[in-house]
C-alpha cells in the first residue's frame, strides 16, 4: 500500500497520471474514496495531470494520532507529503476543510502551491462574515438521522459532539442507525468513535492562525466553487471581493458535496479551470 510518513504519521496515498501536479484533499470525516468513487482522479489524469489523493491524518486508511488536526498542522502534513513525494508546486482541489488546508498551505508554504480550487469551504477565520458558519446542510441532515434514534447533535456543526455521541450508542441504536444510513454509510459510521480519541473535533473548527487577513494575502490563483444551495455563499462573495486572484463560480444542483451531488458539472468545472490555470498565457487570454 503506498504510504508516506510525515511528521511521524503514516498517510495512505494514491497517484496516477503524468503532468502538472494536482492534489485532492477531502473533508473532515471523509477520505479519498469520495474522489475515487466519483471518477474525478481518473478524469483529471486523463487531461494530462499527475493526480495525488491522500487520506488526512485520522481519516480513511491513514494513521490516527491523538493530536495535530488544525488546518495549520495539516498544512504542515501537506508540506511534508509534498516534499516526500517530490511534487512540483501543486494545484490543490480541496473540499470543505480540505480547501481550508489548501489556503492555509498557500499562506505558510507558498512554494508548495501553484493554485487552489475550493469546493464549498467555510473558514473559522471568516465566521464574522458568514452568518451560516457551522450550519451545513449536511449537518442538518445528519442531525435529523441521529434524532431518529434519540440522539440530539444540535443545529450547529459540532464534530466533538458527533464523535462522542457515536461512542455512547447502544447496540439497538447502532442497529437502527445502520438501517438508516445503508450499507455504504455504515463504513463511515464505524470511524466516528475512533475520532473521539483525538482532538480532531475541536481543532478542525479552530482558526489556527488562518485569519481573514491571512486568507486575503494569498496571491496564487484561487477558484472558489460554491454550491447552488450552499449555506456559505457569503464566504464565497467575501473571497471573490478580498482575495486578489480569486474567481468564483456556482455549481448547480448541489448543497455542499458537489463532487457527489453533481459529479458531471463539478468534474467539468475543475478540469476547465485546471486547463486554464496551466495554459500558456496567450492561450489563456485567447490571443
Amino acid at each position: 500500500m503506498p504510504d508516506v510518513v510525515v511528521n511521524g504519521t503514516r498517510l495512505f496515498y494514491q497517484q496516477m497520471g503524468e503532468g502538472p501536479d494536482v492534489v485532492l484533499i477531502h473533508a473532515v470525516t471523509s477520505n479519498q474514496a469520495v474522489w475515487v468513487f466519483t471518477g474525478l482522479p481518473d478524469a483529471i489524469a486523463a487531461e494530462g495531470f499527475r493526480v495525488t489523493t491522500y487520506d488526512l491524518r485520522g481519516h480513511g486508511a491513514s494513521d490516527r494520532p491523538p493530536t495535530g488536526y488544525t488546518s495549520a498542522a495539516m498544512a504542515d502534513d501537506f508540506r511534508a507529503l509534498h516534499a516526500e513525494l517530490g511534487l512540483k508546486p501543486a494545484y490543490i482541489v480541496g473540499h470543505s476543510f480540505g480547501g481550508v488546508i489548501g489556503i492555509h498551505t498557500a499562506t505558510l508554504f507558498p512554494e508548495c502551491v501553484e493554485g487552489i480550487i475550493l469546493s464549498d469551504s467555510f473558514f473559522p477565520g471568516l465566521r464574522h462574515v458568514e452568518p451560516n458558519f457551522g450550519r451545513s446542510n449536511v449537518w442538518v441532515d445528519l442531525s435529523a438521522t441521529f434524532r431518529e434514534i434519540g440522539v440530539e447533535l444540535g443545529e450547529t456543526v459540532n464534530f466533538t459532539r458527533l464523535f462522542q455521541a457515536s461512542t455512547e450508542l447502544t447496540p439497538e441504536q447502532n442497529k437502527a442507525l445502520d438501517a438508516l444510513v445503508g450499507p455504504i454509510g455504515r463504513g463511515w459510521l464505524r470511524q466516528l468513535p475512533l475520532l473521539a480519541q483525538t482532538t480532531c473535533g475541536d481543532e478542525v473548527l479552530a482558526e489556527a492562525g488562518l485569519t481573514a487577513e491571512k486568507i486575503a494575502s494569498v496571491t496564487q490563483p484561487v477558484i472558489a466553487l460554491y454550491d447552488e444551495f450552499s449555506p456559505f455563499l457569503a464566504t464565497c462573495r467575501w473571497l471573490e471581493q478580498n482575495v486578489p486572484n480569486c474567481t468564483a463560480e456556482i455549481i448547480p444542483e448541489a448543497k455542499h458535496l458537489a463532487v457527489v451531488e453533481n459529479t458531471v458539472a463539478f468534474t467539468a468545472s475543475v478540469i476547465r479551470h485546471l486547463k486554464q490555470l496551466t495554459a500558456p498565457l496567450g492561450q489563456a487570454l485567447n490571443v
Binding site: 503506498p2 495512505f12 471518477g39 450499507p183 455504515r186 463504513g187
Partner: protein, 92 residues
C-alpha cells in the same frame, strides 16, 4: 481476457483480502452474489485499499477507480463479488 479461471480469481481475492484485512475471513462464505458492503461489512476506503493490493498482487496497474466510478454511475448501491471477478477476468 485473463488466463486464470474464476475459481483461481476467487482464491486470489481471498488471499489478497486475508492479507489486507486479517479480521475478515471470506474464504468460506463468498459467492458471486456476496456484497462487499452489506455482507462483508467493508467501508468504501477499504475498497480503495483492496484495489491497491490487487495491483500489487498482479504486478500491474488496474483501472480500479474507473471500475468503481462506473458502478456508481450505474446506480449500484453495493458491489457483488461476481462483478469484481468479472473485472479481474478482463484486466489480469
Amino acid at each position: 481476457m485473463s488466463n486464470r479461471t474464476p475459481e483461481q480469481l476467487y482464491a486470489d481475492l481471498a488471499t489478497v483480502m486475508a492479507n489486507a484485512f486479517p479480521d475478515r475471513d471470506i474464504s468460506v462464505t463468498v459467492g458471486p452474489e456476496t456484497r462487499v458492503f452489506a455482507d462483508l461489512g467493508m467501508a468504501s476506503i477499504e475498497l480503495v485499499v483492496l484495489g491497491e493490493r490487487l495491483e500489487q498482487f498482479y504486478g500491474r496497474k488496474l483501472p480500479f477507480g474507473l471500475f468503481l466510478a462506473g458502478l456508481r454511475k450505474q446506480g449500484a448501491e453495493d458491489l457483488e463479488l461476481g462483478n469484481l471477478i468479472a473485472f479481474l477476468e478482463t484486466h489480469v
